[in-house]
């Protein structure tokens, strides 16, 4: 299932860190569409520019050249304030390290977002969706890595974002825990229709996506479409 309308479109995005001889070309002209309701997996060697691309899509970073469109809005022309509002209203992030606020419980970490979102689900509902309805009042320090990551997912989806950007969400987890996290992501994508991009080093995960984008040396090397998707539980770790 691929919808015609893209959520994100990038045109010739480049990113250069540093200057002169020390310059690092992290992205060298990326043209990419990410469609509504789609789940993509980004693969590529370490240092190939995956995180850089994802951060630019999520407006955590700005490209050196090129433009990024979110639907009809050109993010590359937006002000700092508008980018903040964009993240608040449309994007959910999940990182390898969960980035939970240690001083807030699971429920409160989710509430952190629902309090400022436009039409959020309740923190309880978000946590139910990732299978954590029973651990809502625990602090991050009292939870396992997989549980913390699922709290992070609950926090990311609670505002009903249009896109979910995940940078190695299972990178710090073992296979069993990783599966529960992927299942949570797959369920969100399926039930809420949230466009989801997942960076991973685990090639086995590629088969749960609609499309697989392979990045090499700051460019898109090729894009594969999966004729047949598999369930997270079937992933060969």
């Amino acid at each position: 299932m691929t919808a015609a309308r893209p959520v994100f479109r990038t045109i010739g995005v480049t990113k250069v860190y540093g200057e002169g001889s020390a310059a690092v070309h992290a992205l060298r002209g990326v043209d990419l569409d990410l469609n509504e309701g789609e789940m993509v997996v980004l693969l590529g060697a370490s240092g190939s520019g995956k995180s850089t691309l994802l951060n630019i899509l999520g407006a955590l970073d700005t490209p050196t050249a090129g433009s990024v469109f979110f639907r009809d809005r050109e993010l590359t022309r937006a002000s700092d304030r508008e980018l903040t509002a964009f993240r608040r209203d449309h994007v959910g992030f999940v990182f390898q390290f969960y980035n939970l606020v240690p001083s807030l419980t699971a429920r409160e970490n989710v509430a952190l977002v629902t309090e400022i979102a436009r039409a959020p689900m309740s923190p309880a509902e978000a946590l139910e969706r990732v299978g954590l309805g029973h651990r809502m009042d625990h602090f991050p320090a009292e939870m396992s890595g997989g549980e913390q990551q699922r709290v992070a997912i609950a926090r990311a989806i609670a505002k009903r974002p249009d896109v979910l950007l995940c940078d190695e969400p299972t990178g710090a987890l073992d296979s069993k825990t990783g599966v529960t996290v992927l299942e949570a992501l797959e369920a969100v994508n399926r039930e809420l229709g949230t466009a989801t991009a997942i960076i991973t080093h685990n090639a086995g995960i590629r088969r749960i996506a609609h499309r697989v984008i392979v990045i090499a040396d700051g460019r898109i090397a090729h894009i594969d479409e999966n004729a047949e998707r598999i369930a997270p539980a079937e992933v060969q770790w």
């Binding site: 999520g58 955590l60 970073d61 304030r81 993240r87 209203d89 980035n99 419980t105 400022i116």
Partner: protein, 787 residues
């Protein structure tokens, strides 16, 4: 340079802003110590040198009229080394360009040559010719105030006669380092001066041929001052002696001494606050620096550095901050002490100031400063350095938060999650919160404790010039007169109201305490001069017994109903045991009061007056002044409106400077504390705060978590600061109170408000400076740093 020392230098450079914030707080403590002890030493040394060179007297006595034949007997008193007698009197002066009369204290010079005791220093011109009754020397400040030079002249009323006097010389005297007219509290060089005249002229003017009315003594080393005073009193009693006194009772000396005591009090009260805050700050900053360097500490120990070597490394770091603070403090101190010395020239007239940059003060303040930071560092260093290398090299466990009081608040108050973060962080790091709380409390306290002096001044002015003394003018009489003079005074031009007052010098004693003061008679119908009770209400003193200032009674350990021994120092020179029947409030001067009728019954005399208090018609002032300048019975005139104006002007002049200095002190503490707390928070929570930005929180909302926590602590500290400030004010009031001035402990709402405003603004600005750093943090970079 060794690798570890290189690391030291780089660390210091890295934390320079935080280090500077601490160093400045430390510098305040060091600076205050150096300034106050430096000024103290400068004044003491200058005074002692002056006294020694100019042979300042040890014992002083005044009588009515003593024949010169008594001198050999005085010389025979055991312990007396040298005796000098003189004729002294208050005189009314008619100064060119001054409508109102000025006052002078005329003192006779010896028959030939300069005095041998209390030797004046001739600053210009020459001594008056001993044979001429129209030549005088005057004090230099008085001459300056009137632009008088040798050769100029003015008119004086000497024993009822208008006399034209010519100034021959300008002098300074160890007796008049602080020159104050009767009834006033600050020097007024325009309205009061000292006049020296040859003995013959003075004797003729005051009808004192072959007699004197003042005697000054130098004692032999080791002589008992008390014994000499007692013996002298016995000798002078038949001649109207009013009680001999030592240097303690000499106005100029006593004022100088009280200034020294105040400096000593400041040196004791203020610096500890700053040193303590600095110690806490070092503890906080170093504690966190070391926590961040756990792994490095583990590594150092793993490769073979001893625990001591590592501990010393970090102690050196704090000592580096300490050295910086001490150096800044010394610079402030040296500069401030010189400034103070200049300030003193306004009040105290020394011919020279022996500026002593007290090495002891520098050494002691330096040692204290370094000690404060090292002690502050010790705890932080000890706990971390003790860890075994293996434990130290593994990252510390993530902070654990728990449920507790904050959760119970959260529900009912519907707190936002960011607010929860603030509250949990405060509860999670109570030690650090306490340091911030304590630091802000200290700044509020320092400000309240110093700014309150202006409230105290206001109250003193109110009490003295409005509540207690409502007269416009007081006319001093050269001799006590019968009450008939009141009617005569009423006939003077422009006089609307007259009240006669009488006072006698007395010596109070109780247990081992003894003090000479004036006993004022209060007539039942007195309206112009009133007596205040401890709450500031006007009262009539009871018909029996004696009323004492509450502060004096407390010092003497006297309560209502207790008996106190009162020795009348005028005829009939009797001692009575009187019950204390009322307590009074008097912040300027310390007088005892008694019902006038009872006083004169005690003295077995018909009531007399020695002072007239007047209300006058301002329009007729010129006529009244002209008349007073020629009235023989008048020895002086006090103009209260002018005195008050001068007093207030003096306060105003100091106000701006003092408020600025104290505000800077308060701001520095606040800045040191809040800036450091904010920087530490920022460093530790950059990751957490950046992840809030990822979630879509704006910069302001993220800053709220950081700034909000600090401001919440600052706000919580304010009431504590008020309390501590009140206590601090009490300490200062006691420290600044002297024999002449008892500083009332009143703190106005304005003072609390000003202190609060200064501190909260400083806190906010410090936090906002750190917020700017927070705003500039790049989200992606911050996220990459794993704690």
């Amino acid at each position: 340079m060794r690798a570890l020392d290189l690391k030291l230098v780089r660390d210091l450079r890295r934390i320079w802003a935080q280090g500077l914030a601490i160093a400045l707080v430390l510098a305040c403590g060091v600076g205050i110590l150096v300034v106050s002890t430096g000024a103290q030493l400068t004044l003491t040394e200058s005074r002692d040198a002056y006294y020694e060179r100019q042979r300042f007297a040890d014992v002083f006595a005044t009588a009515t009229r003593v024949p010169r034949t008594l001198v050999p007997e005085i010389e025979r008193i055991d312990g007396v080394a040298q005796v000098e007698t003189r004729i002294a009197s208050y005189v009314v002066l008619d100064m060119p360009g001054m409508l109102e009369p000025a006052m002078g204290r005329l003192i006779s010079l010896p028959e030939a040559g300069p005095p041998l005791i209390n030797m004046p220093i001739l600053r210009s011109g020459r001594l008056p010719d001993p044979l001429r009754a129209d030549e005088i020397a005057v004090t230099e400040p008085f001459a300056e105030a009137h632009s008088l030079l040798p050769g100029d002249g003015f008119t004086a009323i000497l024993d009822g006669q208008l006399r034209r006097l010519t100034v021959t010389g300008l002098m300074l005297s160890p007796e008049f380092i602080y020159t104050m007219g009767p009834g006033t509290l600050i020097p007024d060089d325009r309205r009061f001066g000292i006049l020296w005249m040859g003995q013959d002229g003075a004797a003729a003017a005051f009808d004192m041929d072959g007699a004197f009315n003042e005697v000054v003594l130098r004692l032999t080393p080791g002589a008992s001052e008390d014994a000499v005073i007692a013996a002298l009193d016995i000798l002078l009693e038949p001649y109207g002696g009013t009680g001999a006194y030592g240097r303690d009772g000499q106005i100029s000396h006593a004022f100088l001494q009280s200034e020294l005591d105040q400096l000593a009090a400041i040196a004791v009260v203020m610096p500890p606050v700053f040193l303590l805050v600095a110690a806490f700050l070092v503890n906080m900053v170093l504690g966190r620096l070391i926590a961040l360097e756990r792994q490095q500490i583990g590594l150092l120990k793993a490769v073979g550095y001893t625990t001591n070597a590592v501990a010393i490394h970090y102690l050196k770091l704090s000592a580096g901050i300490g050295v910086g603070g001490v150096l800044i403090g010394w610079a402030i101190g040296a500069w401030g002490a010189a400034g103070m010395a200049g300030l003193y020239q306004d009040f105290f007239r020394f011919p020279y100031l022996v500026y002593v940059p007290s090495p002891a003060a520098f050494a002691a303040s330096g040692a204290l400063g370094i000690a404060a930071v090292v002690i502050g560092a010790l705890r932080a260093v000890r706990s971390s350095v003790r860890l075994s290398p293996a434990v130290a090299m593994s990252p510390p466990a993530p902070p654990k938060y728990g449920r507790g009081i904050v959760d119970r608040l959260a529900g009912p108050l519907r707190l936002r999650q960011t607010t929860m973060m603030i509250l949990r962080s405060i509860v999670r790091w109570p030690g650090r919160s306490v340091v911030t709380l304590f630091g802000v409390t200290a700044s509020v306290a320092v400000l309240v404790g110093s700014l309150f002096t202006f409230d105290a001044m206001d109250e003193m002015v109110d009490d003295f010039f409005y509540n207690a003394n409502r007269a416009q003018m007081t006319v001093m009489l050269s001799d006590p007169r019968s009450r008939g003079i009141i009617e005569d005074a009423r006939a003077l031009p422009g006089v609307l109201e007259v009240e006669g007052h009488a006072s006698v010098p007395v010596r109070l004693s109780h247990g081992s305490r003894e003090q000479t003061l004036r006993l004022e008679g209060q007539s039942g119908d007195a309206r112009l001069i009133r007596v205040l009770d401890p709450d500031g209400r006007a009262i009539h003193v009871p018909p029996e017994g004696i009323a004492l200032p509450a502060t004096l009674a407390r010092e003497f350990g006297l309560g209502l109903g207790d008996l106190v021994s009162v020795e009348l120092l005028t005829p009939p020179r009797e001692t009575h045991l009187l019950p204390v029947t009322a307590l009074t409030r008097q912040s300027m001067g310390q007088d005892a009061h008694m019902d006038e009728a009872a006083l004169f019954r005690l003295m077995r005399q018909v009531p007399q007056v020695n002072r007239l208090n007047l209300m006058v018609d301002e329009a007729e002032l010129p006529a009244l002044y002209a008349q007073l300048k020629q009235t023989p019975a008048v020895s002086g005139v006090m103009l209260w409106d002018e005195t008050r104006a001068q007093f207030q002007e003096e306060i105003q002049r100091n106000l701006a400077t003092s408020v600025t200095i104290f505000a800077i002190l308060g701001i520095l503490i606040t800045f040191g504390v809040v800036y450091n707390a904010a920087r530490i928070q920022l460093a530790e929570r950059a990751h957490e705060l950046a992840s809030l930005r990822v979630l879509g929180f704006g910069k302001g909302e993220v800053a709220y978590v950081l700034v909000g926590e600090l401001m919440l602590l600052a706000l919580a500290a304010v009431p504590l600061g008020w309390l501590a400030g009140y206590g601090f004010a009490a300490l200062i009031a006691t420290g600044l109170s002297t024999e002449f001035v008892s500083i009332p402990l009143v703190v106005s709402r304005g003072t609390f408000a000003l202190a609060t405003m200064i501190v909260l603004s400083a806190a906010l600005v410090s936090a906002l400076i750190v917020k700017r750093r927070l705003d500039r943090i790049e989200i992606v970079t911050a996220l990459k740093q794993k704690e």
